[in-house]
Structure formats: C-alpha cells, structure tokens
C-alpha cells in the first residue's frame, strides 16, 4: 500500500470519511470466538465524556511507564485527543472493549509509514472480559497492520523495568533488538525521559526496542 493510501485509510477510520465512522477490529481468540473489539478514537468517540475520563484516570495511574510524566487533566486529555490522536495522519489510538462493550483499555499505533509502524500506549485500565483480552487485542492489531495496512514491520519501545509488558510482547512474538540508556529530565512538576544525553541524570532503567516482522510471524 502506498503512503497516500495508508494516510487515507487512517483518516477514514478516524471519521474523516463518514462511511467509516463505525470502523472496528474484532478481537478473536485462537478458536475464532469473539471476545471484544478495537475501536479507533475518532471524531465521534472523542466527544464521549466517559472515554475522556477513563483515559485521564489511566494516564495518571500508569504514568511511571510513559516517557513524559505529568499531572493529567481532563482538558489536557481532550487537547491531546483532538490535536494529536485524531489530527495526526500517522497515529491511531484504539480503545479496547470487551464482549459486553465495556471499555477496558487502549493500544495505539504511531509513526505509521509504508515500511513500519510503532505500537504504543498499551494500557489495561480495567479488569473484566476474557483473561487474554489484551494478548488477543495486540494480535488483532498486528494482523490488521500486516494484512490490511500491508506494513511489514512493527516495532515498539518499553522501559526495561516494565517486564510484565515485555513478557506480553514476547508472548505475542516480539523480540528485543536494541537497548538504550535513558536520561531523566525534570521541568517543574513534569518529568520526561529521553535517549538523548544532555543535562539530565541517567535513569535506573533502560529503553528496550522490540520488533516483529510479517515474515517472522508467518514463520512461527
């Protein structure tokens, strides 16, 4: 798929084309039974207060695993959803729903190009649904990237101390291909981490790069 077609597809599923406003990816177990759905945050969903509240609450709870760590607010979440998530042509945030249509968490794609995409923003904010819901959410998203977007490589980055997420990604099929030092910077009450060495202090954990190619997946 060309860059132009990928961009169009991403814009379509985010509601820029009214016919795709209800786009979703079914989450299927290995036996084919449906255990949930992935819905992209689009122009319609962005207006739902419950979604914004949940995302804000989860951003606060799981902040230690994000590169940027700040005090989230409803307004900050709304701005991020409007100006970054929906506005960017190379980024999508999928909400994870269980089979009873309960919002459970989210998983995102960023840096979408014809060569590769990056998985980010994986959070299980609520309990409920199938025990393997998040595992199969990631599988569903990977299949969509490989077989609908036709992008052959998926990468992701995770803190080395987040070994439970690393375990999950390994179970899905990812392997570690790089490890970088991280530097911690503080500005007022906000903290951010970067792989660029500057005036920050070295972090106690590293930045782990993982990848999964379409070929590797098919050969397993």
């Amino acid at each position: 798929m060309s860059e132009r077609l990928i961009t169009k597809k991403i814009k379509d599923i985010k509601g820029f084309n009214a016919t795709d406003i209800d786009f979703l990816i079914p989450i299927l177990k290995a036996d084919g039974s449906k255990i949930g759905e992935l819905k992209p945050v689009n122009k319609k969903l962005i207006k739902e207060v419950e979604i914004v509240n949940s995302l804000t609450k989860w951003r606060e709870k799981f902040t230690r695993y994000f590169l940027t760590q700040f005090q989230p607010t409803i307004q900050r979440t709304v701005n991020w959803l409007n100006n970054v998530v929906v506005a960017s042509d190379n980024k999508v945030l999928f909400l994870i729903y269980n089979e009873n249509n309960k919002l459970i968490g989210h998983i995102g794609l960023s840096n979408i190009s014809v060569d590769s995409v990056e998985i980010d923003n994986l959070v299980r904010g609520e309990v409920g649904g199938d025990k393997d819901l998040i595992f199969f959410s990631e599988i569903a998203l990977i299949d969509w990237v490989f077989y609908q977007l036709n992008v052959p490589l998926i990468v992701l980055n995770v803190f080395s101390n987040n070994f439970l997420a690393i375990n999950l990604h390994k179970e899905v099929g990812f392997s570690i291909y790089k490890e970088k030092e991280l530097w911690k910077y503080t500005t007022g009450n906000d903290v951010f981490f970067s792989t660029n060495k500057g005036v920050g202090i070295i972090a106690k954990f590293k930045y782990i790069g993982m990848k999964l190619s379409k070929n590797n997946k098919e050969n397993k």
């Binding site: 309990v127 409920g128 649904g129 025990k131 819901l133 998040i134 999950l168 954990f205």
Partner: protein, 98 residues
C-alpha cells in the same frame, strides 16, 4: 508476624475488590493459595501491572512505606513473586523489612 498477616489481608481484600469489578467469578473466595499470574493464574500481564499499582498504593497507605513491586528486582527472583498470594505476601514482607 503481624505485618505478614496484614500484608496478606491487603492482597486478599484487593482481590475481593477486583472480583466485584469482574464479570465472572474467578476470584470468589481468594486465599493465600490463589494463583495470580502465570499458568492458570487469574491475571494477565497487564492486569497484573494494574493490580500491582493498586497494591503499592494500599501498602503505602497502610505502612507509610513506598515500595516498588514490579521492577527488575522482582524479575531477578529465582521464582516469580507473583505466582500466588502467598509468594507475593512473602516478597512484600521482605521489601518492607529492607
């Protein structure tokens, strides 16, 4: 000894809270033998992350001590502290004693 019982109670109470949110009955009557993670444990990786964060907060409230449960230290243990309630209780107890 009091502390270890208190820690176990915090974990079990949190599992009971979790069960109320679950739509099934996986955690109907948690005990020290309730399996948490791995094999037929009730939590997947990301649910365990969430559970651990809630648990750290409760431990901090109860004992006025901040501990980090999910880090490389936990990973380096010969057997995972997150297997069941008992192993997690012992691990937390150790961290509180350090």
């Amino acid at each position: 000894m009091k502390k270890i019982n208190d820690v176990e109670k915090i974990i079990i109470d949190l599992l009971i809270e979790l069960n109320e949110e679950l739509e099934g009955n996986q955690l109907d009557s948690p005990t020290k033998d309730t399996k948490l993670y791995g094999g037929d444990g009730v939590l997947d990786s990301m649910a365990l992350v969430s559970f651990i964060m809630d648990l750290e907060e409760k431990i901090s409230d109860e004992f006025d001590e901040d501990i980090v449960l999910a880090d490389e230290k936990a990973l380096s243990q010969r057997t995972s502290p997150f297997r069941n309630v008992k192993s997690l209780t012992i691990y937390i107890q150790k961290l509180l004693e350090e």
